[in-house]
């Protein structure tokens, strides 16, 4: 299989703008540019991570792929089929191939349904006829696969811990037999030890079932662990693309560097002496995007060209792409 066929999801020039209206006549006074012209490919069996601050458009990207929000421009190809030009009926046919794991394990399960019943309900709708026994067995198999026992299947959501609920959420996504799973910050509501378990579970499932993940997160350490390729998002745009190892070893974009330097170092001696890149100011509003490079108002290296011209995404080396006018000048960042 060549590389082209191996691409399961391809997003081209995706834009999501939310119109801002005012008054009773719904006069349009502007846009919220939630996602501004992003493109990326997801290879089958790989994990693509999207990281960024709150409000940078990560979740909106995921929702656009699921057609929960309407994309303004661009195209999204799933196995070569454009999702955005499909009729609702056509889209309905392939819906189950893309599933989502939600951030909030409390709100993502019906409080009146037992875990096994949640799974069975999803299994029942796969188009084939099942006997009750088959459904029970399959639900149990899925629960076991995500590390839950039969006894937990008989529990209601309020009787489970956060980690167990998230496992049920994963089993529910698997019940659709998906090709692509969008993980929308699946571990950020859990505590650290449980985070690791869920990440390991996701990695194991990927190996066993050949799943593809689009992993949306704000925790760089988590993304490094699970993702193959990482996109750094800022104000609705991708500012850098790299492999997850390069993210920590050789970040190029000033924003990525700032994000990384915000992670505290455990060694207190190093922590005292290391130089942190502190960003001043707030993320600009996506309603009034700054001209030129979206990052220039906060960038310590900004010059005139940054204020005027939007940088293109260029290949720095290998798979590493960056959208910055000055990345070459900033390259030799050897710490003395």
């Amino acid at each position: 299989m060549d590389a082209q066929n191996n691409i399961i999801l391809s997003v081209q020039g995706l834009k999501v703008h939310f119109p801002l209206t005012k008054g009773i006549a719904k006069k349009q006074i502007g846009y919220v540019r939630a996602v501004e012209n992003i493109s990326f490919d997801v290879e089958r069996g790989k994990t693509v991570g999207i990281v960024g601050e709150s409000g940078c458009g990560k979740t909106t990207t995921g929702k656009a792929i699921l057609r929960m929000v309407k994309a303004t421009e661009g195209s999204i190809y799933l196995n070569g089929q454009n999702l955005l030009t499909m009729t609702p009926r056509e889209h309905d046919q392939i819906k189950r191939k893309v599933q989502m794991i939600f951030q909030d394990p409390y709100g993502s399960l019906d409080p009146r349904q037992k875990a096994s019943s949640i799974i069975r309900e999803i299994l029942r709708e796969d188009g084939a006829h099942h006997t009750a026994k088959e459904l029970d067995d399959e639900a149990l198999r899925l629960l076991t696969m995500v590390g839950l026992s039969e006894e937990i299947g008989e529990r209601y959501p309020h009787e489970m811990s956060g980690g167990q609920r998230q496992r049920v959420g994963i089993a529910r996504a698997l019940a659709c037999n998906p090709e692509l799973i969008i993980c929308d910050e699946p571990v950020s509501a859990l505590d650290v030890s449980i985070q690791a378990q869920i990440i390991n579970l996701l990695t194991r499932l990927q190996k066993e079932l050949g799943l593809t993940y689009l992993f949306i997160a704000h925790d760089l350490a988590v993304v490094r662990h699970i993702a193959d390729t990482v996109y750094v998002m800022y104000l609705g745009q991708f500012v850098e693309k790299m492999s997850s190892d390069e993210m920590f070893s050789s970040p190029l974009h000033p924003y990525t560097k700032a994000l990384l330097s915000a992670i505290p170092v455990v060694d207190c001696e190093v922590e005292k002496t290391r130089k942190r890149i502190e960003l001043s100011g707030e993320v600009p509003s996506p309603i009034n995007c700054p001209s030129g490079c979206p990052f220039h108002p906060r960038c310590p290296y900004a010059t005139d060209i940054c204020r005027e011209k939007m940088p293109d995404r260029e290949v720095a080396f290998g798979d590493h792409e960056v959208a910055c006018h000055h990345y070459k000048e900033l390259l030799p960042v050897k710490q003395p």
């Binding site: 699921l66 819906k95 189950r96 939600f102 709100g107 949640i118 309900e121 999803i122 996504a173 659709c176």
Partner: protein, 286 residues
């Protein structure tokens, strides 16, 4: 023990979990229901038989709650009135709740044009004083029990629609509803299997609260000459007839008044218990 009998057992355990008060409420409700069914057997008087010799008679061994202005036995009228009052209030609340929930569900789930239409209609009806509205509908619908039930249930629609609308609006945002949509679960299954059960507890409480006000509203309508006509007994009309003698013959208004109070109270308690019993989160906690 079978799975079903365990389920029934745990349901009953939570239902009566509040203890004495629920047993008392169940007993009172049962008593009134039996009154209504066996009114003919329990009373030796015709509720509409006028005996002017007994006008405003005090309670005695012959007439345990005395007699009203026309010498009709109050106890007999309470028994027969239980029929009318319970039938009308329960029926009109059920009809109002079902139609209101349905419209609210549609309006909340499919906002858009249909939703706006329903909600603007609700605003329209709310702009008319509810009493006036019910009177007009009652007059149009005719002077019988069905007309009355129709008018009363129509009058309480906006409350149910708005509550259901709000509930559905918030419930459908939940991730578990979104996940069901991704899995191609048909809309009717989402509505019947998830939205309705999760909205039900709140609706149940509103339902039992409406029961009480409906009994009173029915009496007002009867008083105004719409709905149940004299001499048919209903608790509401007995209260409004009796309150002119509140100082000389207090039992005329108090006896039906206390009946209304007890019935409404017991329905409210039973409604709360039912809500708790169907909530899996409270299983074994009460």
């Amino acid at each position: 023990m079978t799975k079903r009998s365990i389920k029934v057992q745990s349901f009953l355990k939570t239902f009566f979990g509040r203890g004495f008060i629920v047993y008392a409420a169940a007993l009172i409700a049962l008593m009134f229901i039996l009154f209504a069914i066996f009114a003919d057997v329990l009373s030796k008087y015709d509720p509409n038989e006028i005996d002017l010799m007994q006008s405003l008679a005090l309670p005695s061994s012959e007439h345990i709650f005395g007699c009203d202005l026309h010498g009709r036995d109050v106890f007999a009228r309470i028994l027969y009135g239980a029929r009318i009052s319970m039938l009308i209030s329960v029926f009109s609340c059920i009809v109002g709740a079902i139609i209101g929930m349905l419209l609210g569900l549609v309006a909340g789930y499919r906002e858009g044009f249909i939703g706006t239409l329903i909600m603007r209609y609700v605003d329209l009806q709310l702009a008319i004083p509810p009493m006036l509205f019910t009177i007009i509908i009652g007059m149009l619908a005719g002077h019988n029990m069905f007309g009355l039930v129709f008018a009363l249930s129509f009058g309480m629609l906006p409350g149910f629609i708005r509550l259901m609308y709000g509930l559905v609006l918030s419930l459908k945002q939940n991730d578990y509803i979104v996940a069901l949509k991704f899995a191609r679960i048909p809309t009717w299954k989402i509505i019947l299997g998830h939205l309705l059960p999760n909205a039900f507890p709140t609706m149940l409480v509103t339902f039992t609260m409406n029961l009480g006000s409906t009994i009173m509203l029915e009496s007002t309508l009867s008083f105004l000459g719409i709905g149940i006509q004299q001499p048919t007994a209903s608790w509401g009309s007995m209260v409004s007839d009796g309150y002119s003698y509140i100082f000389t013959r207090p039992f005329l208004a108090f006896v039906p008044g206390i009946c209304i109070l007890l019935l409404v109270l017991s329905f409210n308690i039973l409604g709360d218990s039912l809500r708790d019993a169907i909530d899996p989160r409270l299983k074994g906690k009460l």
